[in-house]
Amino acid sequence: MMLIPCPWCGPRNQVEFTYGGDATVERPADDAPMEAWFAYVYLRDNPRGPHDEWWLHSAGCRSWFAVRRDTRTHDILASAPVGEPLGERAS
């Protein structure tokens, strides 16, 4: 089981959360070329190792936040509210 550290509620069981995918993709400007939109919608680095990703505490405080998690081990390395940098995990 994964214990996911919500920045607001603390560590909680993974069943309370919904996955939101890669947190490093950024929405292009409205007038950006088609290639930029294609990359935004479809292309993913899909790293084998630390991965920055969105999670929603859907059965808790209902806040979105960012998590850095190792995709090889499921170890969670850090979490942070939206807009704040992913530092070391405070424990």
């Binding site: 996955y19 294609f38 292309l43 680095d45 084998r48 499921h74």
Partner: protein
């Protein structure tokens, strides 16, 4: 040695001491006409069909671990072609036709068992969708039969078909030619047949880099040194992203973990494959007697080859809702495999934007049943430097061009997985 009833009887009388190795495991040569990365079913099939259909036998298959030790040994052995959209239907039906003759073609018993694949329906809308899919299949020449609740109850007595079931069963769509194949035998059979045609199967040889010179493939850097080749096929589904990245290509793929599990072995109790899309569950019984079960993805990026308990709990709960009598069984093993999840649910079997580089991947949940066709068409694409009509729709460029092939037959969505 050719396998036959005669060779089996002769070796039995000799105490089974003289069976030869099924394939050599040679050190790699310095150069090949073609190299395939990945010694699972897809990579071995690619090499076999390159040698068999196209006369390209100076081929190496490079496997970082051992043959069939990845997803080929981690799937739930189901084969079927019950797809809605034309591109998928034609592709998977071609694959099922190859399965039907594979034991004879490879001289290796892959234990294809046409025990049927039954998709249960639980609502009037489900019935309409099953009828629509069944009609689409029959128009494409694929066998499909709608079964009533009464017919299913008579056929599968352990299935709870009562109106008081947690998820009442209203009927089901059956593909009679669907069924199961012994998964390990597929890897061993293709490896042995490819080896007999001159293909080098190199185990414990990890590809660490792809050398591109002047926009064309020059070879691969491996844990056993550099191997030169003008043509390189990638067949490493689950890990396609980081192998393609070695050639500077980013794919529209995320890697996710899909779990499966088996019960302790019991006497024959279920002689078909039962699935329910509504409760995300499927089950069949292996020839060893274990009930083989699976469900949905864990739904987060993973390369860990193991998942977490909530999905296992969901699968077991769905199993008991449909088959209450299985509640007395113990769960024996669970495991996870890593899936290339493409953005439309369909695979990529295509030339990549580097000269001489090809891939078969993006198999999502469904790579095992595609193994023969994937290898056949990947080999064709490598040999001709152009796709076969059956895999022409499965390009890498389809995402940018808006030509997605939605696997569920419900409309293309970028978030299909």
């Amino acid at each position: 040695m050719r396998y036959s009833a005669f060779s089996l009887a002769r070796e039995a009388l000799r105490g089974h001491r003289d069976w030869p190795r099924a394939w050599r495991s040679p050190p790699p040569k310095k150069a090949y006409d073609a190299v395939v990365i990945g010694g699972g079913g897809h990579g071995l099939a690619t090499a076999y069909y390159l040698a068999k259909e196209h006369g390209v036998s100076n081929v190496a298959v490079l496997e970082k671990g051992w043959i069939g030790g990845g997803n080929t040994g981690r799937n739930t052995t189901i084969v079927r072609s019950n797809y809605h959209l034309d591109a998928n239907a034609h592709f998977y039906e071609f694959s099922l036709k190859l399965w039907e003759k594979l034991s004879q073609a490879l001289n290796f018993n892959v234990m294809y068992s046409a025990r049927g694949v039954l998709n249960l329906v639980h609502s009037p809308a489900d019935i309409d969708a099953a009828m629509r899919r069944g009609n689409a299949m029959r128009l494409n020449g694929i066998d499909a039969k709608f079964m009533s609740r009464e017919e299913i109850a008579a056929w599968i007595p352990n299935l709870d078909c009562s109106p008081h079931a947690r998820f009442p069963i209203l009927g089901g769509l059956l593909q009679p030619r669907g069924g199961t194949v012994r998964h390990d035998a597929v890897a061993w059979g293709y490896a042995r047949a490819a080896d007999a045609l001159g293909v080098d199967i190199v185990e414990r040889c990890e590809v660490q880099g792809i050398r591109v010179e002047g926009g064309a493939i020059a070879g691969v850097e491996t844990s056993q040194g550099f191997i030169a080749t003008p043509k390189l096929g990638i067949a490493v589904a689950g890990h396609s992203s980081h192998v393609a990245a070695m050639a500077g290509i980013t794919l529209p793929i995320e890697s996710h973990v899909l779990q499966a599990m088996v019960s302790e072995p019991v006497k024959p109790i279920l002689d078909t494959v039962v699935t329910s899309g509504a409760v995300h569950f499927y089950v069949s019984q292996s020839d060893k007697g274990e009930l083989v079960m699976g469900g949905d993805l864990d739904f987060y990026n993973s390369y860990a080859q193991r998942g977490n308990l909530p999905v296992i709990e969901h699968v077991v709960a769905a199993c008991l809702a449909l088959f209450p009598s299985f509640g007395r069984l113990k769960l024996m093993r669970t495991w996870g495999g890593i899936m290339d999840m493409t953005m439309d649910g369909s695979p990529i079997i295509a030339k990549l934007p580097v000269k001489g580089l090809y891939m078969t991947g993006g198999w999502c949940y469904g790579g095992f049943k595609a193994t023969p066709a994937s290898g056949f068409l990947h080999a064709h694409t490598i040999a001709h430097d152009a796709p076969h009509p059956l895999n022409a729709p499965f390009t890498l460029e389809r995402f940018a061009e808006g030509r997605m092939i939605d696997e569920k037959g419900a409309g293309p969505y970028a978030w299909a997985h």
